[in-house]
């Protein structure tokens, strides 16, 4: 119940294309769903996040789509660029005893071809 399943494991996209990464969760207690971007040798950095009371959130070229009934959410990267090549992690968070516990997906390695 605490797992977050992420797919695909790796993704290759042409420059200008759309990258789509999917995640699914089980525990309905999760109430915050962030996406992190990680470049080699660096720690993950928050990219965009959504709460379950909205179905979509867009920030620039990055969009999260959220389907509460299906317990699924996805990251869409529009007009993908070579600089977007990185590993992307979805996560699900719930408040527990005054703080937030995070469960991470296993990551998607994205490569955008020039």
């Amino acid at each position: 119940q605490q797992q977050v399943k992420q797919s695909p494991q790796s993704l290759i996209v042409q420059k200008g294309g759309i990258s789509i990464i999917n995640c699914a969760y089980e525990n309905t207690a999760f109430d915050y769903f962030p996406w992190y971007q990680q470049f080699p040798g660096k720690g993950p950095a928050l990219l965009i996040a959504i709460r379950p009371d909205v179905s979509e959130k867009k920030e620039g070229r990055f969009t999260i789509s959220f389907n509460k009934s299906a317990k699924q959410f996805s990251l869409h990267i529009m007009d993908s660029q070579p600089g977007d090549s990185a590993t992307y992690f979805c996560a699900a968070s719930m408040r527990s005893s005054g703080t937030y516990k995070y469960i991470f997906g296993t990551g998607t390695r994205l490569k955008v071809l020039a």
């Binding site: 720690g43 993950p44 709460r51 968070s93 408040r95 005054g98 703080t99 516990k101 296993t106």
Partner: protein, 115 residues
Amino acid sequence: GAGVSQSPSNKVTEKGKDVELRCDPISGHTALYWYRQRLGQGLEFLIYFQGNSAPDKSGLPSDRFSAERTGESVSTLTIQRTQQEDSAVYLCASSHTSGRAGTQYFGPGTRLTVL
């Protein structure tokens, strides 16, 4: 402002030795997390600290792992009698729980290699 810092950035040790990893969180952040990231894998939760409350140690893989935090400042993660399977990047993150849903800010990690 300064982000989360971790030291050392790299650590190579021999099997059976003890290692200590350090994390300096963002000033004012009450929550601090440790994660382990094996090569090509996701983030594995180890432990978190929230203010002066008892830490949640539910993610520690064995009793060889321990962590301490003094108040809301520096934290150290200690691995005793290291094994080759302990080789990984150890990431620290901090968050201000009154902020945007407790957003975590990660440090650059410590890459541990056990020979």
